[in-house]
């Protein structure tokens, strides 16, 4: 699975996710990546793209939960990401990346590593795999 979350200089956000799914999956199986609110979500506050165990991400409506925590509980981006990764996955394993309309980036995962990269206008740039 691959994904991208972006906020532009107008403060507009967008997210996209694409995947081949699970190795040895049943034909016809649909995972979280195409499901809006589960693997992908964007609104005026943030944009999110998820990866990992699709069935766990779907049950947790993981991407939408990040936005909902910001919208209804006023959590900051990284706070919302940490909460959903630590509290919403039950025993599931997943990771996600996110941006806020304020130009912040955040990520979280409870798997062994996640391939990821981030950059912000003030010069921050990171490409990493492990914690």
């Amino acid at each position: 699975t691959v994904g991208c979350a972006v906020v532009d200089t107008e403060g507009n956000t967008a997210a996209a996710t694409s995947t081949g799914g699970l190795m040895n999956k049943m034909s016809g199986r649909i995972g979280d990546s195409p499901l809006i609110g589960a693997g992908t979500y964007a609104c005026n506050l943030c944009a999110v793209s998820c990866t990992g165990e699709g069935e766990a991400i779907i049950r947790a409506t993981l991407a939408r939960d990040v936005a909902a925590l910001m919208e209804y509980k006023g959590l900051g981006l990284q706070e919302a990401v940490d909460y959903v990764i630590n509290e919403r996955l039950d025993e599931g394993k997943a990771g996600l990346i996110a941006v806020s309309n304020a130009g912040e980036v955040a990520y979280g995962f409870n798997t062994v590593g996640m391939f990821r990269g981030s950059a912000t206008q003030n010069g921050f740039m990171e490409v990493a795999i492990w914690e």
Binding site: N12, A16, S18, T40, G52, T111, S118, Q121
Partner: protein, 207 residues
């Protein structure tokens, strides 16, 4: 005028013993795709266009599980899926079950922009792709030798792996290998309980 920002991923759940050169290879692809997004944002591109452009690049490179290099179904074929969402107005598009569309994320964008729906799947999505003239290619383009080998491993272990980079773990004390990404048919008291991702299938019952 606000500040731009971009973040990308290539999948979660990595083989803890992934060779260093593979790690560097993956990082190089991530850095290249990130640079494409950064230069587009610097020249004022819209977030939606940048998200599509970067995911297209990630789909085209075979190193990650999407587009070319996708994981394989039990039948040894590729069924790809993607979605895209515009925070402005919360518009969205999604596709599933694609087997010939070179860049699934761009078809998802067309579903959002050019169809009355937000989600098209399997033959309907393939028909829509042809009506929109997007680039299609034979299914074999998406299948890599590495993934054919991984599928064979998964079948031998009778498992469905959420991230096929993590090899099946023999010693159970190394949970990341044992849990992350493998489903093994356990037999307990002579009854088989099917597991997915190392957990009893029952927790996925709703699924």
């Amino acid at each position: 005028m606000g500040a731009w920002a971009i973040t990308i991923h290539g999948g979660a759940g990595v083989d803890p013993n992934l060779p260093m050169e593979r790690q560097e290879q993956a990082k190089a692809v991530l850095a290249r795709c990130l640079e494409i997004g950064i230069s587009a944002l610097r020249s004022g591109a819209a977030a939606l266009d940048v998200a599509e452009m970067v995911v297209r690049e990630l789909e085209t490179d075979p190193i990650f599980n999407s587009g070319r290099g996708s994981a394989l179904t039990a039948l040894g074929t590729v069924e790809m899926e993607a979605s895209i969402m515009d925070g402005r107005g919360r518009r969205c598009g999604a596709v599933s079950g694609l087997s010939t569309v070179k860049n699934p994320v761009s078809l998802a964008r067309l579903v959002m922009d050019k169809s009355p729906h937000s989600y098209l799947a399997f033959s309907g999505a393939e028909d829509f792709a042809r009506s929109q003239g997007v680039e299609t290619i034979d299914n074999s383009y998406f299948i890599t030798d590495e993934n054919v080998g991984m599928l064979k491993l998964a079948k031998e272990a009778n498992s469905i792996m959420f991230d096929y980079r993590v090899p099946i773990d023999n010693n159970t004390n190394n949970t990341c290998g044992a849990i992350a990404g493998s489903i093994v048919n356990n037999t307990i008291d002579n009854t088989t309980t099917i597991q997915m991702n190392g957990l009893p299938i029952s927790i996925y019952a709703p699924e």
